[in-house]
């Protein structure tokens, strides 16, 4: 499934409403559906805020694929996000240690805690984020 969005925070509510039943239909438990919803919300939020610097109307593409467990990987869900925003700074992937009283840097931590794999790559002028969650 492929979804195209604009970089507008108002899209987040609709995405959350869509992803949870998709994850449920694939076979994820309720708590894992919530984790996937949070990870995708945070990933789109990061694109809007950081890749596009809060500018509205820029394209965000999402690809959702069910992993059948036929190859090397277990069954689960793969989420790919593409944007053509700025290249992230290397230190933005360090992820700040949570638990301190600060208001930034939680999004990446939430994505990593919620998903089994979170990998960012830059191909030409495109940012590609791959997130995978396996069914337990």
């Amino acid at each position: 499934m492929r979804i195209e969005l604009k970089s507008d925070p108002q899209v987040l509510c609709g995405v959350r409403g869509a992803i949870s039943p998709i994850a449920g239909a694939i076979g994820f438990k309720e708590e894992d559906c919530r984790a996937i919803t949070l990870a995708l919300d945070e990933a789109i939020t990061n694109v809007i805020r950081h890749a596009y610097g809060g500018k509205p109307g820029r394209r965000i593409e999402i690809e959702l694929s069910k992993l059948n467990g036929a190859k090397q990987e277990q069954a689960g869900l793969e989420i790919l996000l593409f944007d053509r925003g700025v290249k992230p700074k290397p230190d933005s992937f360090k992820g700040l240690p949570p638990g301190e009283l600060r208001s930034g840097g939680l999004g990446l931590h939430f994505m990593r805690q919620s998903m089994d794999k979170v990998v960012h790559t830059r191909v030409g002028s495109t940012n590609r984020l791959r997130m995978v969650k396996f069914i337990r």
Binding site: T45, P98, L106
Partner: protein, 113 residues
Amino acid sequence: MQISARRLENKTIFDVVGDIDLANSPAVRKALLAEIKEKKIPCVIMNLEGVKYIDSSGIASLVEGLKASRDAHARFILFGLSKSAREVLQLSRLLNLFEIYDNEEQALSNERA
């Protein structure tokens, strides 16, 4: 999301209804900071019973409120966290930094203590 304020004696209770995400967390932050820093209300209470979802930007707004209240020697209290909101706060490892109660009655009785 809707946020409204109730004023009781020396405290303000914010009733929040709806999801708190990037689309509306700035409004939450603005309301909190106005109450704590500008109006210097000594106790600000957030009613989150109507909040089914909160993301990192929403947590960030609550953290800003907590920081401002500490700077102002004020109290900042949360109550009525949904399962999802509690999970996200737990994930942030910030849960124990907030003063949290199950409901308004508990929040008010502890506020008076």
